[in-house]
């Protein structure tokens, strides 16, 4: 188990190294270069000055050299400067990451219980009317574009009913309740987006588990229905579901980008989006790399959790 974890972690580290090179190249393919952005709109720029600046900042070096310099600096925690905010990249990304983390944790706190409940209820009578309603809900959820979901929520809850703010965030130091009101719609949007897939997995896993012999045994020895469904059914059905939850971090990051852009939240996704729009190369690169690390880490975690939760699985 320990050897397996170590080997998988090393593999993941290697993948991150390779992906950092790929992402560095991709960012390099975006229009312009850092010097263009820096001197944009400056009337006294001459081609000689541009060349001098390029040499000064090392932009004229071959790509591999530039990547190597970036990598060495990045390993010491220096991801360069943002060319829109004129501050170190980490100073911009760390608060944004915390904000996104808040959004993601709250979303999971809503979507996991809801999915477990709806999925299990639906699985008790496959093709019954409850199951049909839940299936339609899940299908709608996986088929809605998340940005449109956000628009509809804004129209209904912010414009028509005027219950909640349409976006933005509270002033610093506002009471907790007021801070939370700004999070309700984003969390609701992201949760509706992630729950559909999760409900489908819980339902499928529960149907399979409830058909197992040990459930019949549990019923036969006269256990109460809720004990059968919760203790014997759900606990066993949770195994594959845990994996799916861990794996969903990647799509959660994608969803967070759209949700934050829609509600004007200053999170990671919005930071990456703005960085790409404003050609803020260093921020975009660091943000993308962070998202990749999170996705990889979550799939690693999913594998390890599986071996830990299910002793029958031997990880070699």
């Amino acid at each position: 188990m320990i050897r397996y974890s170590l080997r998988r972690s090393l593999q993941a580290a290697l993948v991150i190294f390779v992906m950092s090179f790929v992402l560095y190249n991709l960012i390099g393919l975006m229009p312009g270069d850092p010097i263009d952005v820096m001197l944009e709109g400056n009337p006294s720029v001459t081609p000689e000055l541009m060349a001098q600046m390029r040499a000064l900042y090392g932009v004229d070096q071959p790509l591999v050299v530039r990547y190597w310099r970036w990598l060495l600096a990045a390993l010491t925690g220096d991801f360069g400067y943002s060319n829109t905010y004129f501050r170190p990249v980490l100073e911009i990304l760390v608060p944004a990451i915390l904000q996104t983390l808040k959004l993601m944790v709250l979303t999971l706190m809503v979507s996991i219980p809801v999915s477990l409940l709806l999925g299990s209820v639906a699985a008790r009578r496959p093709n019954g009317w409850v199951d049909n309603i839940v299936s339609v809900l899940a299908l709608t959820s996986i088929s809605s574009p998340i940005f449109w979901l956000a628009l509809v929520f804004i129209i209904v809850f912010a414009v028509k009913l005027q219950w909640l703010p349409a976006g933005g965030s509270s002033m610093a130091g506002a009471p907790l309740m007021e801070q939370l009101t700004y999070l309700v719609l984003p969390v609701l949007t992201l949760a509706s987006f992630t729950s559909g897939q999760l409900i489908r997995y819980v339902r499928a896993s529960m149907i399979e588990t409830l058909n197992a012999d040990f459930i019949r045994t549990a019923r036969a020895k006269g256990l109460a229905e809720h004990t059968v469904v919760l203790r014997h059914g759900l606990r066993n059905a949770m195994l594959p579901v845990v994996t799916v939850i861990a794996l969903s971090f990647g799509s959660l990051m994608s969803g967070a980008l759209v949700v934050e852009t829609m509600y004007g939240m200053l999170g990671m996704g919005k930071a990456v989006y703005d960085a790409i729009v404003n050609k803020d190369f260093n921020v975009a690169l660091a943000g993308l790399l962070f998202a990749t690390v999170v996705t990889l880490a979550s799939s690693l975690l999913a594998d390890l959790a599986y071996g830990w939760l299910d002793p029958r699985v031997r990880l070699e």
Binding site: V18, V152, I276
Partner: protein, 308 residues
């Protein structure tokens, strides 16, 4: 089960007949298919419909901003007086075409990777699957945005071609195909592995069939079922990606309408004209639901055991 009293044999039916009959009995899937066909016809006939109604889809008319539905503009007009219905139909063309083309392109690549990987096994397999894992570990939407923002002239593509209006269409097809092939690669690898060791493939090999012959004649037809189902699900996902990208401004660019970029301005119009924010989204939702239902119907039709 009732006891069979009538012992006459049913007429033998081909496998495609049997599949079609099972598909037809799946009412939701049939409804979804009919909806998609009607939608495709309406989108293809967008210009005819525009002519019949006497509207010009790209004509800006500032005296007719936000006009309510009328006999000329069946769904009203948008913020610069263009007909919403005709624009929706034109947008549908793009969304459906991107969905099909990107799935076909990404699917072809995925099948290639998966079949080669499963057929050759060993080092090639390990390498290709690690590569697939790498792509799978990337956050999709941020990656699509970066790919959508790439300056194509830095790739050495001819400037003349880059200025043509169809570039943003083909670019989004390629960008999505580059990212969304991993699921199909994994599925075709798993299916190839299970077919490869069956006796009829081994027998063909023993009688001297080349690898290429074995792959085209034996592997591909036998892994088609899971691939068709995965393909249908991919079309739905691709339509969602396309709309998200176009909405964020990295996909198909205005004035060419798509369901995604028609919503770009809607965010500012939620108070004045909420209907403009509803129509394109409802069409995306209905189309993706329909595509998913068709996929479900195909799965049941091709593999009756999976319906339990």
């Amino acid at each position: 089960m009732t006891v069979a009293t009538n012992l006459t044999l049913e007429a033998p039916q081909s496998i495609w007949n049997a599949r079609w009959n099972r598909f037809r009995r799946h009412r939701l899937a049939m409804t979804a298919t009919i909806f998609l066909i009607l939608l495709a016809i309406a989108c293809a006939a967008a210009d005819l419909i525009a002519n019949a109604l006497g509207v010009d889809p790209s004509a800006v008319d500032l005296f007719e901003r936000f006009s309510p539905p009328s006999s000329k503009h069946l769904l009203g007009t948008d913020e610069i007086g263009r007909d919403v219905l005709v624009r929706l139909l034109h947008g549908g063309r793009i969304s459906l075409m991107v969905g099909l083309l990107a799935t076909a392109l990404g699917g072809a690549f995925g099948v290639l990777i998966g079949v080669v990987s499963g057929f050759l096994e060993g080092r090639t397999d390990a390498f290709l699957m690690r590569f697939t894992d790498c792509v799978l570990s990337l956050p999709i939407i941020p990656l699509l945005i970066v790919l959508g923002a790439v300056d194509l002239s830095k790739l050495g593509l001819p400037q003349a071609w880059l200025n043509s209006p169809s570039v943003s269409f083909w670019r989004i097809v390629v960008v999505i195909a580059l990212v969304d092939w991993t699921a199909i690669a994994r599925i075709s690898r798993a299916a190839t592995l299970s077919v490869k060791h069956r006796d009829f493939v081994q027998a063909a090999r023993a009688s001297g069939a080349t690898r290429l012959y074995n792959i085209t004649a034996h592997i591909l037809p036998n892994i088609a079922t899971p691939l068709i189902v995965a393909g249908a699900l991919t079309v739905g996902r691709v339509i969602l990606f396309e709309s998200t990208l176009s909405f964020l401004g990295f996909g198909v660019v205005p004035p060419t309408p798509t369901w995604g970029n028609m919503l770009t301005n809607a965010q500012e119009l939620v108070t004045s004209a909420p209907a403009l924010a509803i129509y394109p989204g409802v069409l995306i939702l209905l189309t993706v639901v329909a595509v998913n239902l068709v996929g479900d119907g195909v799965r049941v039709a091709f593999d009756p055991r999976s319906d339990s």
